[in-house]
């Protein structure tokens, strides 16, 4: 594989990052387009609702945009973006926790209505719990709509490894989802 073949995805990311840094903010659009679903899935699992995930995803993009000059390797935009999203998710979770504590104190015994979960929260939460390499591949494959070949290029690994990792990810998701369903049964 030649250097350019190796990861056309990453090279494209790098190109857009550099365009943005060159003063063409509109080029950021392509990066948003490419990673929004990935980011949403990533965040929905952590934050529990689509609205919150959207807000956090927007924030992640905006923060990424303004920090782009600090991105050492523009071809690693994706991993870097996920890192930013992780931080923002943490901030949101912390704020949410504080807000709920306050609300609980304020309303004493009053029931606090649970936040509206996203449509398939169980799945998103299961994805969020996956270890990094597995989550990355699931996100790219189903939310980034990348083929396994493309993923192999982007992550710079043999196709066989991608296939194996994907299989393992499936197994993990299934067992995690089964557990959730079981516990829901007991709870009800």
């Amino acid at each position: 594989m030649s250097e350019t073949d190796k990861s056309t995805q990453n090279m494209a990311d790098k190109y857009y990052v550099e365009r943005c840094l060159d003063g063409h903010p509109d080029n950021f659009r392509y990066l948003v387009r490419r990673y929004q679903a990935v980011l949403l899935a990533h965040l929905a699992g952590k934050l529990g609702s689509k609205d919150k995930a959207e807000e956090a995803a927007q924030e992640s993009f905006v923060r990424a945009y303004f920090k782009m000059d600090k991105l050492q390797k523009p071809d690693l935009f994706y991993s870097w973006l996920l890192g930013i999203a992780d931080n923002i998710a943490k901030e949101h979770q912390r704020n949410e926790q504080i807000r709920r504590q306050r609300e609980a104190v304020r309303s004493f015994s009053q029931e606090v209505p649970p936040p509206e979960l996203s449509q398939d929260f169980a799945l998103e939460a299961a994805i969020a719990e996956l270890a990094e390499p597995y989550r990355k591949i699931i996100l790219l494959r189903y939310y980034g709509q990348h083929s396994c070949n493309k993923i192999a290029q982007q992550l710079d690994m043999p196709l066989g490894t991608v296939t194996k990792t994907l299989s393992r990810a499936y197994a993990m998701l299934r067992s995690s989802l089964q557990q959730t369903e079981r516990s829901e049964v007991y709870e009800v």
Partner: protein, 443 residues
């Protein structure tokens, strides 16, 4: 291959990642194996679930909203950058402008406010200090802050007029307390400015005689005020007897000449601010022209619009801007006190060398009008008065700017509670201000 091995291939199978031979083999096996068919169903269910969820999420289009937010944030940041750039320009002007001396002059008025009579009712003079009241002239040194580092003001008091000079700047002030007027003289630029000090400034500006008078009367006449005798000590070569008077927030020490009973040194601690009056001499011979409100020969009168009626938060923000943005080059000071502000004012005021200022303005093509410079200088002076008027004990204001960078919109530097307010005003590192409940305040 056994079932376990086939199951391993199922994800790759539905993903279309197997070669023809493998695919065929899996398909054949599935026909005959119910367990693997069930497994396949589960795998493809999960696959469908992932795709479906992805479709839901992909419906949201963040492109426009993200781009929008970026543009808005960009604009906000540019404004901050503009502000900072404008401040930099301002800094050059402030550091070089003779007009800032005015601000420095204002600071000096403030210094008088420090000595504001802390007691509410006034009483008649006690016999022992009768000579003070009759003294027509008094000469003294006045220090705000530490005696060894604090700037010294030298006062010549004749009746209700004061001539004030400073150890750390050239400006001369002549204050006419009866008429609430102040004449500022700048020996460097030979400029003269009259200032109206009516309003709060007039109220606050009292001669030290008045201060001494009130305090001593209190000590002598009011048995309820606990006065502690400090005994005898040598002060500047004179035998003196000392009295200490303490009230919440106030500590006053007076050393009086053992023979004449005249005060020769007064130490005054109010809240966080210490002032010292020393080298006091009564009824010395003074050239009265020193306190003349006429403009001396060789000086030119500058007529300026002035406003000393109000001291606002906005004025104080100018002080922070000058201090953090210019003098300290982008960071906030470690602490803030009247003593430090007075030093700052002197520093800023003294930087104003007229010729340099003109050259500088030319070289940098600065086109800020004299009037604008004046505004900055005035705001700066008023801002210091604003700070001075906050509760001296510091109970209702807090400085938290240590280590904060100028322009940091997320970190508070100063918070205070306006009189009669339940909420605090919080000034941030970029100098924007928010209201805050006590519970949410930093620290």
């Amino acid at each position: 291959m056994n079932c376990a091995e086939y199951k391993e291939l199922l994800v790759a199978y539905i993903e279309g990642l197997l070669d023809e031979a493998q695919k065929h083999s899996v398909a054949e096996h599935l026909k005959s194996c119910a367990s693997c068919r069930a497994e396949l169903k589960e795998v493809s269910d999960l696959h469908d679930r992932l795709v479906k969820n992805s479709n839901t999420l992909t419906q949201s289009n963040l492109e426009d909203v993200v781009l929008d937010r970026i543009v808005r944030e960009q604009n906000a940041r540019l404004k901050t950058v503009d502000k900072i750039n404008a401040s930099l320009k301002l800094r050059r002007i402030i550091m070089k402008s003779p007009f800032v001396k005015l601000a420095a002059a204002a600071v000096i008025i403030v210094a008088v406010l420090v000595g504001l009579n802390p007691f509410k009712d006034t009483v008649t003079f006690a016999k022992v200090i009768q000579p003070i009241l009759n003294a027509r002239t008094v000469v003294l040194d006045f220090i705000v802050g530490d005696e060894t580092n604090g700037a010294v003001m030298h006062d010549v008091i004749v009746g209700s007029k004061i001539r004030r000079t400073f150890s750390n700047m050239e400006t001369i002030l002549i204050i006419d307390l009866d008429n609430a007027k102040m004449l500022t003289l700048g020996p460097a630029d030979k400029g003269a400015i009259y200032m109206d000090i009516q309003g709060p400034l007039q109220k606050g500006t009292k001669s030290y005689l008045g201060l001494v008078r009130d305090i001593v009367s209190k000590i002598v006449d009011n048995p309820n005020i606990p006065v502690q005798e400090l005994g005898e000590r040598e002060i500047d070569g004179q035998r003196a007897v000392g009295f200490l008077l303490s009230e919440p927030n106030i500590k006053l020490t007076i050393w009086a000449d053992l023979e004449t009973a005249l005060p020769i040194r007064i130490e005054f601690l109010q809240g966080q601010t210490q002032t010292i009056i020393k080298n006091i001499e009564f009824d010395v011979l003074v050239d009265e022209s020193l306190v003349s409100m006429d403009i001396p020969a060789g000086y030119t009168l500058h007529e300026e619009e002035q406003d000393w009626s109000e001291f606002t938060e906005q004025d104080f923000i100018v002080v922070l801007q000058v201090w953090a943005g210019y003098v300290l080059g982008g960071r906030f000071p470690d602490s803030i006190s009247l003593e430090e502000l007075m030093k700052l004012a002197a520093e800023v005021g003294q930087a104003a060398e007229v010729e340099q200022a003109a050259e500088f303005e030319q070289a940098h093509q600065l086109s800020i009008s004299d009037e604008e410079k004046m505004q900055i200088g005035m705001a700066f002076g008023r801002g210091i008065v604003f700070f001075q008027q906050l509760e001296p004990s510091g109970a209702d204001w807090h400085y938290v700017g240590k280590g904060v960078e100028f322009g940091d919109a997320n970190t508070a530097v100063f918070l205070y509670r306006p009189k009669g307010s339940d909420t605090y005003r919080v000034i941030y590192g970029d100098l924007h201000v928010e209201d805050g409940e006590a519970a949410q305040l930093p620290k």
